[in-house]
């Protein structure tokens, strides 16, 4: 017996080690109700211990490499590559101011939404607290899309915390160690997230395929799904808050196993292959975080100050208008209006006197007898002043030769024929602004 083990010790050792590993594998796999084999979502104590040892062995060198990389990168970025930073800073400040104003409006809507959700007994979770972390390592296997971050349970991380970047979702915390954590990326084959298409409102399950691409599975064929449609988190998976960007639809392909289903290939919003910094959502609450509330207050203060400034400008213009001579004085005849500029040196070109006057001669037409008293009065044939639809026709009498002779240039012959340079008349809106009335209804274009 002893000689057998000595003689075949190599193969015996091989078989013993293989057998031990296969037994260990069998312990980790379990059967689901539908007969499929799967791994537990979370590792058992023994497996977790092995992962902890492995990570404890490898993470210090990884952290060292990462620190060296970040140090050299920071040295370059903070001391060398600072060109155009001042201009960028000014541009960013302008962007922040603009976004604050926009945020104020959005947060108002969100507040209203919260109130409505409270009425409907539905609690929407908002990102309340995040922890910034650096990606320090990966699984090293193409079949396993997990990576490690330099924050762990000591930093407040826990299982199933959502991991995001400002661009979009990244994954969830799968395993937590004291100083590090393992993150399962959304493009892993075993991952899953509830998503919704922004415009069509079609819901589906996001997962990764063998190539590490994102795809939405288990949705019925729908021609409304178009390339470029934005995909957001649906909020139904209890991991990712609702409304976070996931990516855009890149392609729609037929499900190879089911005819009536399609797979929607997604181009991820976050750069899953080149992750450096991520945010781990450690807390979601049904109310705004202190930072968001502070931003809201700042936005409202900015919005209030801007409104006050506009009000001040209006008030100043009104005061100036009161102090300056008015352009139109209703108590004065037209030729004595302040707008009338008698200092114009341009000589008025009067038509030459006809040698043989006939009925076509200016002033000889029947009913065109110059009457100085009619200059400031509305023409009896002119329509009512408020009838904007017929206003252009009413301007024609101003060109009557008889009126032209008796009225200085620039002076209106009648209220209906006032020139466009008289903005003080309140009912000259439609035709004078050049904008035709909307819907054919005069006077409604304002």
């Amino acid at each position: 017996m002893e000689s057998f083990f000595v003689r075949y010790r190599n193969i015996v050792v091989l078989l013993a080690i293989l057998l031990a590993q296969i037994i260990g594998l069998a312990v980790q796999v379990r059967r689901t109700a539908d007969g499929r084999s799967t791994l537990d979502t979370h590792d058992g104590p023994g497996v977790r211990l092995i992962r902890l040892w492995a990570q404890a062995l490898v993470s210090p060198p990884e952290l060292l490499i990462h620190a060296s990389k970040m140090g050299s990168k920071g040295l370059w970025q903070n001391y060398v590559d600072l060109r155009n930073v001042r201009q960028q800073n000014q541009d960013l400040q302008k962007t922040i101011d603009r976004l604050r104003l926009e945020q104020a409006a959005l947060l108002e809507d969100a507040k209203q939404g919260q109130r409505l959700q409270a009425l409907a007994n539905f609690q929407q979770k908002y990102v309340y607290q995040t922890v910034a972390a650096q990606a320090i390592g990966s699984s090293g296997s193409e079949q396993s899309h997990v990576f490690y971050i330099d924050k762990g349970s000591a930093d407040g991380l826990s299982l199933d915390d959502a991991v995001i970047t400002p661009d979009g979702i990244v994954g969830k915390v799968r395993e937590v160690f004291p100083r590090t954590a393992q993150v399962l990326a959304v493009n892993d084959q075993t991952s899953g997230a509830g998503v919704i298409l922004e415009t069509t409102r079609i819901r589906g399950i996001l997962r990764g395929n063998a190539a590490g691409r994102l795809e939405i599975v288990d949705i019925l064929a729908d021609k409304r799904i178009q390339k470029g449609e934005v995909v957001l988190t649906g909020g139904g998976d209890q991991i990712f808050p609702r409304g976070l960007p996931v990516g855009v639809v890149e392609n729609v392909v037929q499900d190879p196993e089911r005819d009536s289903f399609i797979d929607v290939i997604i181009a991820p919003a976050a750069h899953l292959d080149r992750l450096d910094e991520v945010l781990v959502i450690t807390s979601t609450q049904a109310r705004f975080s202190p930072e968001q509330q502070q931003d809201l207050a700042t936005s409202e203060a900015l919005k209030g100050s801007e409104a006050a400034a506009i009000k001040e400008q209006k008030k100043a213009s009104e005061i100036m208008a009161e102090r300056l001579p008015g352009l139109i004085d209703p108590n004065l005849p037209p030729d004595q209006q302040p707008l009338h500029d008698s200092s114009n040196p341009t000589t008025v070109a009067h038509p030459p006197v006809a040698l043989h006057p006939d009925r076509f001669t200016p002033g000889n037409a029947p009913g065109a007898v110059p009457d100085a008293t009619s200059a400031g009065k509305p023409d009896s044939n002119a329509p009512a002043e408020g009838d904007a639809a017929t206003q252009p026709k009413a301007q024609k009498p101003a060109m009557k030769p008889g009126s032209a002779q008796s009225t200085p240039v620039g002076k209106p012959a009648s209220p209906a024929g006032k020139p466009a340079s008289r903005p003080a008349q309140p009912k000259q809106t439609g035709p004078q602004t050049g904008k035709p009335p909307q819907n054919g209804q005069p006077g409604e274009n304002n």
Binding site: N10, I17, L25, V47, V58, I136
Partner: protein, 172 residues
Amino acid sequence: MPLLGDDRRNQEIRRFPILAYALVPLAALVLQAWLPRVMGRFAWFDLPLVVTVYFALDRRSPIQGTLMGAAMGLFEDAFSNHAIGINGVAKTVAGFLAASIGVRIDVENHTIRLVLNFLLSLLSSGIVVFVSRFLLGLELEWRWYTALFAAIGNSLIAVVLFPLLDRLQIRD
């Protein structure tokens, strides 16, 4: 150059400093975890397998090759989200075969090193798929050309890395 080793070479067992046994596999594991972050989806190599094959070939001990392969594979599994043991089984077999072959052939021949790494890489990938899909019944999608690229990458790395590691040997 003969491909089969002579008797003297067959009896020769290369020795390394203790630190080399510890630091080279550790460096392989760390680089395998770190480089894919830099290279993205183009990280077609398996450094722990290359190191396993190297030590198994040079030590010419199937037991040591088996143990080395098992340890490296288990570490790789521990870094992933897969069951622990899948890569362990694959690299255990690879280490055992490399050491068994190393007894019979000239392990300093570059062609042999290249071909051996290529074949063992393919074998390792095949065992991973076999264990995952058929032994455990897991739904693992697999692309053959990725395994092929990884095998080519391992072979090229081995041609460059093995002479460097040879410098660590303790010469009598």
